[in-house]
Amino acid sequence: MSSPPGPADRIYRLILRIYPPDYLETFGDEMHQTFREGAHEARSQGRLGLFLLRELMDVPQVLANAYWDGWKRKLQNGIQTLQEVTSSDDLPPAPPDGRASWRQASFEMGPFLIAGLLLIFATYLPFDGLRPGWQRDPEFLGKVILPLALPILLLGLSRGLPRWAYPFAGLLFGYQALIAYQTSLWLFLIPMLLASVALALAAIMTDPQPALLPVPLRRIGQSLSADWTRLSFAFYGALPWVILRAFDDSHYDNRTPYLALSVLMMVTGALLYCRSRAKTIQIGALVAGLTFSIWGALLDRIFFAEGLMNWISVSSRGSAGNVWILELWLQWMIIILSPTLLLMFGRALHRKRAM
């Protein structure tokens, strides 16, 4: 055993370097020593080749397990840190929401009402200032929405992110999605957003210190820990854009009564959400608001394709348009439901671990 290290020993030391650092710190020296003892004995028995082959063959699986265990532990520690951070006492208590008062509820659903009215007026009133195809002009839409939504969102953030601020975040998110749709960046937008969130979480989990989380993020965490459905409400804030997108090419002049129906459904969904106390009803209201709003666009298409039967039997172009509307509905349904799905997944994991 005191013999000088051979090539096998050097290779094994290199392999050990691939292991996760904490694993290596705990077991690295021991593993190296055990390997040397095993190699020494195998050499004396003339079976060194077999020994090395077995060691090498197991490396991928052992490495995968070591990394998976490390990530799992970091994830658990990160979740615990996030829970501790969001419940820390140095932040002001989360502001009340509209479940207790009509005034607060109307304030929270205000963005939907205003956006809906703007959509209706811009569609029905013959504005000379609006050129045809304004619904697809990101520059024009940006000039309208960014100066309105961004300051209000920042104001909300400075006040502990109350519920009324969430739809403005959704409006900005929806605007980004709209641009991405039109510039073929849609496929990159969601991965980029997810990657940003994953990187932020990874930073916290690899070094779980509450101080790493800046105050605005801690406020978001605190606000969401008070009521996680707010995240869905934020995504629902993008619904005016979804309606705009669903109706932008529904027929040539876009003056359809179904647009008003969609807007009404959106506002009703928001109102129901704001006034409900049960989370199931809240999420249900958002899902219903989205679904019935999309139905408005669907009905519009069916009406202008001269009836459902004709659309199904004759017009392939019409059915392609309807499929597109359904795709739009499905995408936003998944986005709005994603917090619920994540929560259910987390609870299922927790239950499995507790069993």
């Binding site: 705990t26 077991f27 021991e30 593993m31 699986q61 052992v62 658990q76 501790e84 969001t86």
Partner: protein, 142 residues
Amino acid sequence: MKKNLPVFNFSVIMSSGDMLSPDIFERALMNMPVETPLTESTYFILLSLSPKPKHGYAIMKDVKVLSQNRIVLSTGTLYGALKRLLDLGWIIRLEDANPRGNIRDRKVYKLSQHGRRVLRDEIARLEKLLIAAKHPVIEEHT
């Protein structure tokens, strides 16, 4: 409503020694479910450690002998299994009181009380299976 998920890092607790009293630790382990039947590797590792604490290479050799050369653990697999058993609190990692030669800071592994009970339960389970296999009802048909 906030639910703090308990995160037990048993290997840290066990190695630091003074973080929790043995009583508290044992009580925490009592409530932990044990996945039975044990895998063969786990069973032989626990069996190897039952007479006295051993270091990694000794365990590796024991497993080979006890399994009649059926299970030959690689170094990586052995330490993966030891880490899992440490996390479960079935074994304890200690400094080797009698290190050989020039090997410094050598660690040995010892069965914890909980690990010993798990092993005892598994042996009892296997004995029951063996008794069932030797039952007259079975022997009549074989």
